[in-house]
């Protein structure tokens, strides 16, 4: 695999920002009530991440070492404000649903983490690939958790009813707990567990100690 595809695919599962690096958990808990909101949040974060990685990678030789974190945050904050406004202008309903969590992308550790750990030391192309990979990795976890929560708490996916609700004469009694924020914790924990099992199984060459850790 060349460097670009590695940068793109590693963060999807093997080095997933949420399930492996445990970054960006707070928004993953808050906005995963429905699949739609999860996808919108994943897309917003991916866009901001691509733009911030690209910009910071472009400026990586110019940015002074002493003020690099401040400047990275300044750039990220500006991009998030723009993303928030674009969302409010073109998808106002979704913007209302995500409310403050779009602006809180600023504090999402994934973005600053990728800027500092990757974009500052890699050329633009690779940084963009890294951003796409990490954004999709984040979005993947959100989408899985959001889909499970929407299906079991509301009996629908993307607002399309799949399980007939008991209150409308069907058989499905919604699971209240899954709709509450703690369910995000449980589901992300499950996701981490499953993805780590898969990872370990797929690398038989890994030493035993590594596998048992």
């Amino acid at each position: 695999m060349n460097r670009w595809t590695t940068a793109l695919t590693r963060p999807l599962l093997n080095d997933n920002p949420v399930s492996v690096q445990l970054l960006g958990i707070c928004s993953a808990l808050a906005v995963t009530k429905t699949l739609g909101a999860s996808l919108a949040m994943g897309a917003s974060l991916t866009c901001v991440l691509i733009a911030s990685n690209a910009l910071i990678s472009l400026l990586r030789r110019v940015i002074p070492h002493a003020t690099r974190l401040v400047l990275q945050i300044t750039i990220i904050a500006s991009l998030v404000i723009v993303a928030d406004q674009v969302l409010a202008a073109f998808a106002p309903a979704m913007s209302d649903q995500l409310s403050i969590f779009v602006s809180l992308i600023i504090t999402n550790c994934i973005i600053l983490g990728r800027a500092e750990a990757f974009a500052m030391t890699h050329p633009v192309g690779e940084s963009v690939a890294d951003a796409v990979g990490n954004g999709l990795g984040y979005g993947l976890v959100l989408a899985v958790v959001g889909a499970v929560r929407e299906l079991f708490a509301r009996g629908s996916l993307l607002d399309y009813p799949l399980l007939p609700l008991a209150k409308d004469g069907g058989w499905f009694e919604p699971l209240q707990l899954v709709g509450l924020p703690p369910a995000g914790f449980f589901l992300i924990a499950l996701f981490i567990w499953i993805s780590r099992r898969v990872r370990v199984r797929r690398t038989p060459a890994a030493p035993r100690a590594e596998a048992q850790r």
């Binding site: 400026l59 110019v62 940015i63 002074p64 002493a66 003020t67 401040v70 400047l71 300044t74 750039i75 904050a77 500006s78 991009l79 404000i81 723009v82 406004q85 674009v86 409010a88 202008a89 073109f90 106002p92």
Partner: protein
């Protein structure tokens, strides 16, 4: 020597680059804001109209009065409560009555004997919703709130364009005892309000809610709403709120202007 000047240069460079990046970022944000503002304003307008239409549909009596609500237009206006005049400098979309009542600069304390609604402080301005059809005023919706028996009760009262005849009363929010005080939201009690008058021909505030009076004045019927037995405190509380908000400390001065034809 060389080292110091190099360090100085690098400090300058750090400052310069940092400033340049900050400037670039602020340009980006400003450009996005200016470019997207008309689109966002349009969304806000649509959302506000939908919300107003919902208020209109829920307000009792208006459907009966207007028939088809779709042909009515709604307009929110901020009113200066002391003078009763419109305050065109305040955008109703950005006016939050709850905040206005809490901030010292936009509110005033109410002396205990005048505080019928038992709210201690009131905003100096209020929002009225004017309902028109073909430009002609049809109704005025006024918000009210105050302390009930167990909670803050919020609602709105619709008056006819004469500023004196009640069209209907809506309780939109309360935390009164379920099954007892909560009866104030029942249609049966709400149905007692339409047709009642706020003031008599001499301009005295007469509307009131009361259990029973020993010697009611002969013309009392037009100004009198029965309270719900068992929920006396809640219903009389609503009556006092209505008296406060329609009275001289509330929208009274505004309604006086309405009676003089300010809406036409």
């Amino acid at each position: 020597m060389v080292e110091t000047s190099a360090r100085k240069g690098s400090t300058l460079r750090t400052l310069g680059v940092s400033l340049a990046i900050c400037l670039g970022c602020s340009l980006l944000v400003s450009a996005a804001t200016v470019w997207l503002r008309p689109i966002r304003d349009e969304h806000r307008r649509v959302a506000r109209n939908a919300r107003l239409a919902e208020i209109l549909g829920r307000q009792p009596g208006l459907v009966e009065l207007l028939g088809d609500l779709a042909t009515a237009t709604l307009e929110e206006r901020v009113v200066d409560l002391r003078t009763g005049a419109f305050a065109p400098e305040v955008d109703p979309a950005g006016f939050d009555p709850v905040v206005a009542a809490a901030v010292p600069a936009t509110s005033q304390a109410i002396s205990a004997e005048r505080d019928l609604a038992r709210i201690q402080r009131q905003a100096l301005r209020g929002v009225v919703t004017l309902v028109r059809r073909d430009g002609a005023p049809q109704a005025i919706i006024l918000p009210f709130y105050g302390q009930g028996y167990a909670s803050i009760i919020r609602g709105s009262i619709a008056l006819a364009a004469d500023g004196n005849t009640i069209i209907g009363l809506l309780i939109s929010e309360h935390g009164e005892t379920p099954g007892i005080g909560s009866e104030i939201t029942e249609e049966e009690w709400g149905a007692l309000w339409p047709g009642k008058k706020v003031r008599d021909a001499d301009g005295r505030l007469r509307i009131h809610v009361v259990a029973e009076e020993a010697t009611p004045p002969p013309d009392d019927e037009a100004f009198h709403v029965d309270c719900i037995s068992g929920a006396t405190r809640s219903t009389e509380g609503v009556g006092q709120m209505v008296r406060f908000w329609l009275g001289d400390d509330g929208f009274g001065p505004f309604l006086a202007r309405v009676r003089e034809g300010a809406l036409r």
